[in-house]
């Protein structure tokens, strides 16, 4: 392992290229965990995952094990999952509901605010331990939500979540505004896909509009060759025995990856602050579910219009946004309700946890479409996703070579166009602007000096979620 000076780190990122070490050097990975994942707001999940008092889920912020819990007063807290006595995880379940976290080692018992409530044989200590602030489960310093989406930061100080998100907050608006009841909820299970490659590869790929025609060539071909079988729905006059609408959506999505180059070149590709960005105008509900002719979609549109008015409904539904990247750990599809949280494991190992959302107040059949869509875009055995994962691994293997220094990211360089405040738009839809933008943020995080105690969770010092999670 090498150690790097800030000058050396800065030299790894050039206007049109980056050094392969950013993907392959374990020393840089360790620094990234401190300087990027230790500072940025990290997406953790959604409030609907912990809807009731005592509900929790466990996850990681970089390598730190945390519990995201709603305490009995209803406040959302992010606790470090480590007993303050001798160190074990106090919670070993993925999710659940509890009044207390009991350490399996010596029985120290913490309530959902993290307070130490019970110590077996406490009389052996000189004085009572229960209630001591320094023996409470440590709190992650900052917790906040935006429109129901939970974030936390390991840094005690930094910009607010809203400032951090900047204009890409509008993608969260898009996902929530589409719900006729004004809320979304996590449903339909969580895929966890993994690959032997660096965490940055997935964030780059999700906003790379040149790759589908090549990476997904085989599934485009296979779906195009399939004879059209109308949906088995009576409403559309199904022709083939057993034909299903879930297959229909998946076939459409596979075919869509083979759109002609002109379609990709016309796309809006946007870069925002802090490495964030999104891909707009990719494809419409119409392409996916024959929306305009679909009675379920008509019912949904009517429900949305009833709440927000026809004009506003039209405005909401004409936002065609595909992948949004919230750097460094989130990629989501607002229009199609897929949320992906990236968990770096090692320089060459990554796990991506993916969730689907139900639009409250929308017809049930729409959620079934979301599930079918999730299976093809995020499914661990999807004909589409598996080719992405394979290419990440081959990229990682190539990038681990020490014989070639640079990765070339020059597509569309110099062609960026200023857009609305805080956004740049790629001069063409296939611009590598999003990757350059991610590395600008990478370089800024990585060369900023470590502030004292920046990435240290502190017991009981942080403002609680309730003071920060007010919706805008």
């Amino acid at each position: 392992m090498n150690s790097y000076t800030n000058e050396q780190i800065a030299d790894l990122v050039r206007p049109d290229r980056v050094h392969h070490a950013v993907y392959s050097d374990p020393a840089l990975f360790a620094l990234e965990m401190k300087r990027i994942f230790g500072r940025a707001w990290l997406a953790l999940g959604h409030e609907s995952q912990i809807a009731t008092p005592g509900a929790f889920f466990t996850t990681h912020m970089a390598a730190e094990p945390v519990i995201v819990v709603r305490d009995l007063e209803g406040e959302i807290r992010v606790l470090v999952n480590r007993c303050t006595h001798r160190g074990p995880l106090v919670c070993h379940e993925a999710r659940g509901e509890t009044r207390q976290f009991v350490c399996p080692y010596h029985g120290w018992t913490f309530d959902p605010t993290g307070q130490l409530r019970f110590v077996p044989m406490e009389s052996s200590y000189a004085s009572s331990l229960c209630g001591r602030e320094d023996l409470a489960l440590a709190h992650v310093p900052r917790v906040a939500s935006y429109r129901g989406f939970i974030f936390a930061s390991l840094a005690a100080e930094g910009e607010s979540l809203v400032d951090f998100l900047g204009p890409v907050a509008s993608s969260y608006d898009d996902i929530v505004d589409r719900a006729p009841a004004g809320e979304v909820e996590v449903a339909g299970g969580m895929f966890r896909h993994a690959y032997n490659g660096n965490w940055k590869l997935v964030l780059e790929n999700h906003i790379d509009t040149v790759h589908p025609a090549f990476v997904h060539q085989s599934s485009v071909h296979a779906a195009r060759e399939q004879p059209d079988a109308e949906s088995g729905d009576a409403s559309t006059g199904g022709s083939r025995a057993g034909a299903t609408s879930f297959a229909d959506i998946q076939i459409r999505q596979m075919r869509q990856n083979g759109a002609p180059p002109a379609v990709w070149e016309r796309l809006g590709i946007f870069a925002g602050p802090n490495g964030h960005g999104y891909m707009g105008d990719y494809h419409s509900d119409d392409r996916l579910v024959v929306a305009m002719a679909n009675p379920v979609f008509a019912e949904y549109r009517a429900a949305l219009s009833a709440r927000v008015g026809a004009e506003r409904a039209t405005q909401i539904l004409s936002t065609h946004r595909f992948n949004t990247i919230v750097y460094p750990n989130c990629s989501f599809m607002s229009q199609f309700r897929q949320y992906r949280i990236v968990q770096p494991i090692a320089v060459d190992r990554t796990i991506v946890n993916t969730f689907s959302f139900r639009l409250k107040g929308a017809p049930e059949a729409m959620f079934r479409d979301t599930v079918a869509f999730a299976n093809i875009v995020n499914g661990t055995a999807s004909e589409v996703l598996t080719d992405d994962l394979e290419v990440y691994e081959r990229a990682q293997q190539g990038l681990s070579s020490g014989l070639v220094d640079w990765v070339y990211l020059g597509r569309g360089l110099g062609g960026d166009v200023p857009d609305s405040p805080g956004l740049r738009r790629g001069g063409m839809g296939t611009s590598e602007l999003p990757m350059r933008n991610q590395f600008e943020a990478w370089s800024r995080y990585m060369t900023a000096e470590d502030a004292t105690a920046t990435n240290r969770a502190t017991p009981r010092m942080a403002p609680s979620a309730s003071t920060l999670n007010k919706p805008l």
């Binding site: 339909g188 690959y195 599934s219 060759e225 399939q226 297959a247 689907s356 049930e364 079918a372 598996t386």
Partner: protein, 161 residues
């Protein structure tokens, strides 16, 4: 569980072994031919999952999607199957659950060893076949494969079970 006579059980066991052999030897057209037009091939994502419509699945294919899957496997740029995965399946614990004359419900366990690109993986699953008796012999109307590690992280899966 119902007590099956020895002939029926042997027939069912041989059928399941045959399906496994077709997959182990890349005879995918013959494998597809074992499935009915209205079939469902299902690998749930969650333990005890109730349906494939309201919860995601590792695989939830109708006949069309199975055909697409097999067609994709044969494409020269099916990157995740270059090199081809090699597999061997061990089918065991075959039990007849129900026999309604033209349809049968059969439970088994499955171990699949996969080797690809210098890595070996092992999958274990409980399997339930819904079979129907046809003029051409037994056909599969539904196959449900509950992987023991369904809820865990998975590197890309480019085989069926």
């Amino acid at each position: 569980m119902m007590m099956a006579d020895r002939d029926t059980l042997t027939t069912l066991e041989q059928f399941l072994y045959h399906e496994a052999w077709l997959l182990d030897t890349d005879r995918f057209d013959e494998w597809l031919a074992l499935y009915t037009e209205d079939c469902r091939y299902w690998v749930p994502l969650e333990h005890g999952q109730i349906d494939g419509e309201n919860t995601c699945s590792v695989i939830h294919d109708d006949r069309q999607l199975l055909e697409i899957r097999v067609r994709q496997w044969r494409h020269p740029r099916a990157h995740a199957r270059v090199p081809l995965p090699r597999t061997v399946r061990q089918v065991g614990n075959v039990m007849l659950l129900a026999d309604a004359g033209d349809t049968l419900s059969v439970r088994s366990t499955l171990m699949v060893t996969e080797f690809r690109a210098d890595r070996q993986r092992l999958f274990g699953a409980r399997v339930e076949h819904q079979l129907c008796r046809t003029g051409q012999g037994l056909r599969i109307r539904q196959k449900r494969v509950d992987l023991v590690n369904a809820e865990g992280p998975h590197d890309g899966i480019t085989i069926v079970f």
